[in-house]
Amino acid sequence: MKKINTISGLAIPLDMKDVDTDLIIPAQYLTQVTKQGYGQALFRRLCDGNPDFVFNQEKFRSGNILIAGENFGCGSSREHAVWALMEWGIEAIIANSFSDIFFANSAKNGLLLIVQPEKIIKHLLAEAGKENYILNINVDEQTITTSRQEKYSFEIDSFRKYSFTQGMDELDYLLSHMQEIEAFGRKQREQEYSTVFLGQS
């Protein structure tokens, strides 16, 4: 995982709430066994048949910071949604809330999610819609500064912040606790009622 201390770039306004992962990457594209190849299908349902959709607009093609409404990433647990967004070029998403599963999936891939109150989201959406709205996200300082001289701060729990800024892979963290995990498993198996049973029937 690469270290992420700052993210800068053009903001893309997606003025929608409850953007579900079926919209982000429709199921028909999930039959690949790789992590690549999803970017070209990002928001396919909305891109097809809607020329004005923000992801069809050339002026936002270089954007890397998505602004969206509440409950972003709801629905299916498909991590392909995160892969599709990142492959397209999104590095951060700012919304007033995210679905739990999408939040966890994003953290595993280095996609930075930032929560901001609804009022600020409304403002960011409006400004981004006027084009050329450049944001500078500083993870260490937990701030967002804009090309229109605005400054906002955001919350991020210390573990997630550490993971992003140090490029720490969560699996490495888990594996570094193997002894404790194996001891826990042994204790479990010693119970009269143990759930390790598959393959024994």
């Binding site: 039959t31 647990s77 991590e79 995160v82 888990l174 404790e180 498993g185 759930t195 598959l198």
Partner: protein
């Protein structure tokens, strides 16, 4: 100290937790299917790791497979490759795998319970958001992404933050023709698609105690649709009776020990929840969705609300929804014409669901304008349906009775609703294009779908 069931299961599975860190959280049982496992096994191999505890995994094929009789001939190369890949990964890693020719193949959330593998007090994950289904047994069961599947393969654990807890108490009694599906749809309509975000729900109340295990599974299945991390129901005599003597249920002395442990999980009387919601089911009628997310739902005997009467923050989405579903404000849901009907999915494809549908379709015919797919959730359900003659009832009615799989729920295998067609479905999501590009989905219970398939339009079974 008093605890609720969620807190009890949480505490029993924390391996360790440092201050300001997520817990290292132990997983008891992990289900795998072909769509969300390949990349996890690939990453495992790339990092030269092995599966820590293969005996905790159960794999099968359900999402991408065809449901026609010759389903083992997969024409879609990518889907065929996915299925082959899981076959290979399971074999290489000594993981229990139910293939096409197995009498236990089926939708992941149908086979775990029917095999007695899903048990109270377990932590259970799968790369699928409807993993919440298993909460019906008092398991803490939730969906994860593919990278977390990798984490569990390698370490048997996930990093987890302790969830907030919500009690949803269902009082009253479901009327005839009204089912668990309608109850959970009503809850989602009331609290919204993000209403339970960040929470694990415990469902309680007399209406819950009266539900069969299959009805509880339907209810818990859709917990994710109101944003909940998971949803569960404390085990009781109905749970124990269901589990007894099933294939992977404990036996003998282990059964006695298990019962004692399971009974201890029930929430303490004076326990605390971070939030409580109460809903009375006495007056509830059959529900149906009109829009593009599960919360845009009303009773079948109601009309789509006037947009101006909706809360302001729901109005824009309502407009968008009606433009997509080609319905209007004030329009009655009763008598909306349908093209396709689907009885199936991890929400409603178990034997009780098929019996309800068969009772309605017995001696009747599916409307000439309607294509009805009835897809049993597993080989075991299919076998039982045949033993009870349900397959004949469906076929005589003109329905298409198919092989077990996710089928029309997800629009990623051969089964898709054509563009522009309206489908009334017992599945769990009605997002734009969910069942196929340009398709329109309305969600309802098996009874509502069966009755509507006969009429050719949306109608409740009692009518």
């Amino acid at each position: 100290m008093s605890k609720n069931i969620i807190e009890k299961i949480w505490d029993a599975h924390v391996v360790s937790q440092k201050p300001d860190h997520p817990a290292i959280f132990y997983m008891d049982f992990i289900l795998l299917h072909e769509v969300t496992s390949a990349q996890a096994f690939q990453a495992l191999a790339e990092r030269n790791l092995r599966v820590l505890d293969p005996k905790r995994f159960m794999a099968t094929i359900d999402h991408a497979i065809p449901t026609r009789k010759n389903r083992h001939e997969i024409f879609d190369k990518a889907a065929a490759s996915q299925v082959d890949r899981l076959r290979h990964n399971a074999r290489e890693n000594n993981i229990l795998f139910y293939d096409f020719d197995s009498s236990h193949q089926g939708i992941v959330h149908v086979i775990g319970p029917e095999l007695g593998a899903t048990q109270p007090g377990m932590t259970l994950i799968c790369g699928d958001s409807h993993t919440s289904t298993h909460g019906a047994f008092g398991a803490l069961a939730f969906g994860v992404g593919t990278t977390e599947v990798l984490h569990v393969l390698a370490s048997n654990c996930l990093l987890q933050n302790k969830p907030k807890t919500m009690c949803v108490k269902f009082t009253g009694k479901l009327r005839e023709g009204v089912f668990a599906k309608d109850a959970i749809m009503k809850l989602i309509a009331d609290i919204g698609v993000g209403g339970a975000a960040g929470y694990v729900i415990e469902y309680t109340g007399e209406a819950i105690s009266a539900m069969s295990m299959e009805a509880r599974m339907t209810l818990c299945n859709m917990s994710i649709e109101c944003g909940a991390r998971a949803g569960l129901i404390a085990p009781d005599e109905i749970t124990y009776a269901y589990l007894k003597d099933r294939q992977f249920a404990p036996r003998g002395r282990a059964w006695e020990a298990a019962l004692e442990y399971w009974k201890s999980l029930v929430s303490d009387t004076d326990c605390h929840y971070d939030k409580t919601v109460t809903m009375d089911l006495n007056e509830l009628e059959a529900m149906v969705t009109w829009g593009i997310d599960p919360s845009q739902a009303i009773q079948v005997n109601e009309s789509i609300p006037d947009i101006h009467h909706l809360p302001v923050h729901q109005q824009e989405k309502a407009r968008q929804a009606l433009a997509y579903t080609r319905l209007s404000e004030g329009q009655a849901m009763q008598d909306v014409c349908i093209d396709w009907c689907f009885i199936g999915s991890c929400t409603n494809s178990r034997i009780e669901d098929l019996r309800i549908a068969a009772n309605i379709l017995r001696g009747r015919k599916v409307h000439q304008n309607v294509t009805l797919y009835v897809v049993p959730g597993s080989e075991m359900v299919l076998k039982q349906a045949r033993e009870e003659g349900l397959d004949k009832i469906f076929e005589d009615a003109g329905a298409n009775f198919r092989m077990p799989g996710c089928s029309l729920c997800i629009g990623m295998n051969d089964d898709k609703v054509p563009a522009g067609k309206r489908c009334l479905s017992t599945s769990n999501r009605n997002f734009i294009g969910r069942q196929g590009p340009g398709s329109i989905t309305h969600l309802a219970s098996p009874a509502t779908v069966a009755a509507s398939a006969i009429e050719g339009k949306i109608t409740s079974y009692l009518r």
